[in-house]
Symmetry: C2
Subunit: 90 residues, 2 copies
């Protein structure tokens, strides 16, 4: 189903870079528990968008899009759950 060729390598590098960009935000929020600056609406919109990219990537037989969007949607989900958890306590 999925094939790895030269263009897929570009996809994997792209996936690594755009996914990595999310990690510091997740780490910072996890550590500080400061969710004030996080917009729940923005992340819900982004989660829906990334989930649709995931469906799109599966249809396009794109392994890099599949992996990138599974990791990115998981990271966004963590941020959404942290936001909900720590907003309740205010």
């Amino acid at each position: 189903m999925f094939e790895i060729d030269a263009i897929e390598i570009i996809g994997f590098i792209a996936a690594f870079l755009t996914t990595s960009a999310f990690v510091p935000q997740v780490y910072k929020t996890w550590k500080t528990k400061n969710v004030e600056a996080i917009s729940l609406t923005m992340y819900l919109v982004m989660f829906t968008g990334v989930f649709l990219w995931l469906l799109y990537g599966i249809y396009m037989n794109s392994l890099s899009m599949l992996i990138a969007n599974i990791i990115t949607s998981s990271l966004i989900l963590v941020l959404i759950l942290l936001k909900i958890k720590y907003s309740k306590k205010e």
Copy 2:
């Protein structure tokens, strides 16, 4: 070269959602000129990643990836330029 079918509609919705999520950040930074919380490294990494997704989308004949990544990379470029411009004045 590019074809629009049912899966491309999902791509366009995904493109609209993930691109929209960036707009409030650009608007806020543009208005407030407050670039303190913006990580230049993060946005440079993200810009490179999105640029590679753009190349990938062109290769995959994906019109939704082409449009999404042109708009997203432009928005990230605006944030990078604002960061450089207003950091100098501090």
